[in-house]
Symmetry: C2
Subunit: 123 residues, 2 copies
Amino acid sequence: MAKVVNISQCFEKFNDTYSPKIIGELNGQYVLVVKCEEDKVPWHTHENEDEMFYVIEGILDIFEKRKKITLHAGEFYIVYRGTEHRVVPQGHVKLVLFEPTEISHTGSVKTEITKSEFERLDV
Amino acid sequence: MAKVVNISQCFEKFNDTYSPKIIGELNGQYVLVVKCEEDKVPWHTHENEDEMFYVIEGILDIFEKRKKITLHAGEFYIVYRGTEHRVVPQGHVKLVLFEPTEISHTGSVKTEITKSEFERLDV
């Protein structure tokens, strides 16, 4: 998978939301792209994994129990392991995620958006 | 270090080249920003670490022994562990790196650009 990956072009290759696609893998971490729309992510916690949210387009609110973070294009934020959180897009959002390959993306909480594994995008 | 980080703004905070600055840390990996100019990076290999190069501005050539990769803004490439490589910027380049915290950035090769540790940028 040693390829040049154009991040913006990755988003032209799929339309489903809340379905992270693998575009890179290194050191036990995935690089993922995901489209988000509507308030669908439940409160959840990753006990052993830090998770990085990097906004490519749009505005993303991240809620921790005592904190609201708002991310614009070109900004990232790391939710550290053990921190209960949820994300709410303002409109349509294109995101890059960095997280360990063994992560469950909604933690131990299962909802309609929960995926048991991520699809690999043909980059 | 749970902060909103604007990647472009990070590059306004320093001017030295080939001196990666830490702007994030997660799961044993650093998120680094670095400015590159001129052909200064020796051929080197990371035996146990994959390294991701993500171009924010400019054009970067990455050479592996039998391959030349050219990255433009918005593109990334992963050099896998054990792969001898060097990078050559075309003019001035702003880069994001993702790599394990224990990496030596020029492998076992020491030159004028080699740093024993990375500085943390006040983001």
